[in-house]
């Protein structure tokens, strides 16, 4: 060491760096630990669907190292490569449930976004008076539906639907699901519209557009990202809904969660087929989650920050 060195590590610098390094290590340690906690159940389910009985008993984890992946679980669903062409009642059943889930969640999300964004736009721009209710009261009325626990509605709906022959139909489920996600959509969209300056529509109105014309041609394209976020969020919620589906459907309109749940009860310990079924039920959502993560986070963050 010569005296001419310009940059010298003093004692303080060195401890600082060591501290910084330890800090980094701890941060990444925690992050990775939590990532494992989040991902391991998914990994476990997907690998289990390729396991055979002894593999499950021995708790083998890593495919090709611990055990040979087989199509056992998927075969019992009729979805493995060698059975995909053959007739399979289980697969038909599965596809029916899958289709039900898809139709119900898509339809109710569309309906909710349609009704919800109209209402949110109206509430953020005009002032209303329905009897004693002003704008704030109306908003509160919509948002208060969030607090309403599903049980309260469940049994009256059961009776009503029975009277109206809507029990075990998709339309019945769609109506109910729309109701459950509507407050969330209104919440997100109100935030979206509040962020768009009013001058835009005023300009449009001066140019001769009506209220609705301005809404459709000017505002809607701007608010589209928010609508997508609301749509995806309601899609996830309706796809996963179990409580109403279990109560109100029996044979025709069953959704996927109901099928998964009923299999859990009946089949004891045929793990691989359950694992295959569960992974089939969660795969669409994982894909949505990975691809559209940005929108979901945006949607959920909308209400948090005012």
């Amino acid at each position: 060491m010569t005296e001419t060195a310009i940059f010298k590590d003093t004692e303080a610098d060195r401890t600082f760096r060591a501290k910084w390094f330890a800090n980094r290590l701890a941060v990444y340690g925690v992050l990775i630990l939590w990532a494992i906690i989040c991902l391991f159940p998914i990994y476990w389910t997907i690998t289990t669907s390729f396991k055979m009985a002894p593999n499950v008993m021995q708790g083998n984890m890593v495919p090709w190292v611990d055990f040979d992946p087989r199509w056992l679980g998927w075969r019992s669903l009729g979805l493995s490569p060698d059975t995909i062409g053959a007739e399979s009642t289980v697969r038909d059943e599965f596809m029916k449930r899958f289709l039900n889930s898809t139709i119900v969640s898509l339809a109710s999300s569309t309906l909710a976004v349609l009704l919800g964004s109209l209402a949110a736009y109206g509430l953020s721009r005009f002032s209303y008076k329905f009897g004693f209710m002003k704008n704030d009261d109306i908003s509160f009325f919509f948002l208060s539906q969030l607090i309403l626990p599903p049980v309260v509605l469940a049994l009256p709906f059961l009776v009503l639907y029975r009277e109206m022959a809507l029990l075990d139909t998709r339309i019945g489920l769609i109506l109910l699901y729309t109701l459950t996600v509507l407050p969330i959509v209104i919440w997100i969209m109100r935030d979206q519209f509040a962020g768009i300056p009013t001058e835009l529509e005023e300009a449009a109105m001066v140019d001769g557009l009506g209220v609705w014309g301005a809404f459709f041609t000017i505002i809607l394209p701007i608010a589209l990202p928010g609508m997508v976020a609301a749509f995806i969020l309601s899609l996830v919620l309706t796809w996963n809904e179990y409580f109403f589906a279990a109560l109100l459907t029996s044979t025709h309109a069953n959704t996927l969660p109901v099928m998964v749940a009923s299999q859990t009860g009946s089949q004891g310990i045929s793990w691989w087929s359950m694992a295959a079924l569960s992974s089939a039920a969660i795969l669409p959502l994982i894909v949505i989650g990975v691809v559209l993560e940005r929108f979901i986070i945006k949607g959920m963050a909308a209400g948090a920050v005012k």
């Binding site: 925690v30 989040c38 998914i42 476990w44 209303y128 109306i138 509507l182 179990y242 996927l256 969660p257």
Partner: protein
């Protein structure tokens, strides 16, 4: 025109009423015609707004459909539910509905399982404090300078996307299975000889809490993360210049700024927590001895096992009243708490 369609609806409803009470027979088998009549009336009402009130009506048209939808789907069932709640109605018995006044209420008062379920809800709600701490920690970590932030964000988000039913199988039934489940193995390796996660009431409740936390921590985390990102960088920098170290700047700068977001996140989380049912229904069905029961799962079984609609509705109504009171108090408190800061 409004009145015309309203008359149509009233006529159809009356005809149906007559049908059910057996005065005359017009060949209806269910109440659907009334439903159609209602839809017709609603549509005409919306249309009439525009015709009669012009520009103002066009504006009303934005809110009216949603309002009609929500009113018809919540207020009507709620009123109807009140009627059911004060009657003895077992769907599987042939007698149909009979009014029985406050008998359901009296029965509820003496039902230890319902009170037990309510007590459990208190415990479940308290668990939110722990969830909040973890979620805040993770949000802070995600907000700091790290690599591969996108990967971690997606990974942390995934549990929220999975359906609770699938989770209850994946985690509750398979990973926690006492003999072969990987978590049971881990527990054995750590020295717990005979791991049974649903054997004793306390452990079972704990396990349900953990599983629920697993699915919903990402939700709080994302809300908190959004709040953290909204804090301007200058503030933390200024506090650092003023000599605040990490811990102190967190408590004196970050945490107070996050208070509004915190309250929103916790309120929403409580709302979701009070609906907790899917996991309980599928994993433990309320066992052992009702230790994990939530109100929702209890009412669900009350209907599934006994088809006891009247009593179940009464329980749900009481639950609703409790929730509304609780949430109102909570929101008032929260409002008073944040007012001075903002």
């Amino acid at each position: 025109m409004i009145w015309g369609s309203a008359v149509v609806m009233a006529a159809v409803a009356l005809a149906q009423l007559g049908q059910t009470s057996g005065w005359w027979n017009l060949g209806f088998t269910n109440w659907r015609p009334t439903l159609y009549a209602y839809c017709l009336w609603a549509t005409v009402l919306c249309w009439a707004q525009v015709v009669i009130r012009g520009e103002q009506g066009k504006r009303t048209l934005f809110v009216l459909p949603a309002a009609l939808f929500v009113v018809s789907l919540t207020v009507f069932p709620l009123v109807f539910g009140l009627v059911i709640a004060f009657s003895s109605w077992n769907l599987s018995s042939p007698d149909g509905r009979t009014f029985n006044g406050f008998d359901n209420l009296r029965q509820m008062w003496a039902d230890p399982f319902y009170w037990n379920a309510l007590g459990n809800m208190v415990w479940y709600t308290l668990a939110i404090a722990v969830e909040y701490t973890i979620a805040f920690g993770l949000a802070l970590l995600l907000n700091s300078q790290i690599r591969a932030r996108k990967f971690f964000r997606v990974a942390f988000l995934l549990p929220l996307m999975l359906s609770p039913v699938a989770v209850s199988w994946m985690v509750g039934k398979s990973m926690l299975e006492a003999r072969f489940g990987p978590l049971a193995r881990l527990a054995r390796a750590l020295g717990w000889d005979n791991p049974s996660f649903f054997g004793s009431p306390e452990v079972a409740k704990m396990t349900i809490m953990l599983m629920d936390a697993w699915t919903f921590i990402p939700f709080m985390m994302i809300m908190l993360l959004a709040g953290l990102q909204a804090i301007p960088k200058e503030l933390t920098e200024a506090s650092r210049v003023d000599g605040a170290t990490g811990w102190k700047s967190f408590w004196e700068v970050t945490f107070p700024l996050m208070l509004p977001v915190t309250i929103t996140a916790i309120l929403i989380r409580i709302i979701f927590k009070l609906k907790l049912a899917d996991i309980v229904i599928n994993v433990t069905a309320g066992g052992p001895g009702g230790a994990t029961d939530t109100v929702t799962s209890f009412i669900f079984r009350e209907y599934r096992d006994r088809s006891n609609v009247g009593y179940g509705t009464m329980l749900a109504m009481v639950y609703l009243v409790i929730i509304v009171i609780f949430m109102t108090v909570l929101m008032k408190l929260a409002a008073r708490w944040t007012r001075p800061q903002t």
